[in-house]
Amino acid sequence: QQPVQSPQAVILREGEDAVINCSSSKALYSVHWYRQKHGEAPIFLMILLKGGEQKGHDKISASFNEKKQQSSLYLTASQLSYSGTYFCGTENSGGYQKVTFGTGTKLQVIP
């Protein structure tokens, strides 16, 4: 079952914040977050393994609510380089780490 992301698209001015949500209808073992620039391969941002875990990388962080089967990606003080499509990926068991990717959120940061 493909996780659902929201919003589908968002436009930010430099310095503004954004939140991207990812929800699954199945129990989650882990949530991945990736960013993809146009025409390029996705780049791994972070993985969250435990319920309630929060991770951060520079001004990008994420939370994982295992009980609600949801994850959120937080982008603070956005930069032009943050533009791209963000995908969450969910893993429903800890076996072969088979990740199902969400529908994607297109983020555009403008000056």
Partner: protein, 112 residues
């Protein structure tokens, strides 16, 4: 350090022709390997994954097959391409559960 190579970068093939895309990983052993396809403006669809030599799991029944003849080599094939096989094909690897994926640079396939 580990690297992943995928080729070719672009490919234009006629309907009914065969396909072979290759992916190799360096600097690690026994990686989990994956093939994804991305239609234009869409998400990533898992096609095949492998946890070891000769072990292939298929996610979506379709006109494609995969093989893993060596530990760090993953091949995507088709005997006869369809127009609907067009897309951006991405190979990825991961050391094990609890780690993110590293994607290859992708192959843009256009079937004409």
């Amino acid at each position: 350090s580990q690297t992943i190579h995928q080729w070719p970068a672009t490919l234009v093939q006629p309907v009914g022709s065969p396909l072979s895309l290759e992916c190799t990983v360096e600097g690690t052993s026994n990686p989990n390997l994956y093939w994804y396809r991305q239609a234009a403006g869409r998400g990533l669809q898992l096609l095949f994954y492998s946890v070891g030599i000769g072990q292939i799991s298929s996610e979506v029944p379709q006109n494609l097959s995969a093989s893993r003849p060596q530990d760090r080599q993953f091949i995507l094939s088709s005997k006869k391409l369809l127009l609907s096989d067009s897309g951006f094909y991405l190979c990825a690897w991961s050391p094990r559960a609890g780690h993110g994926y590293t994607f290859g640079s992708g192959t843009r396939l256009t079937v004409v």
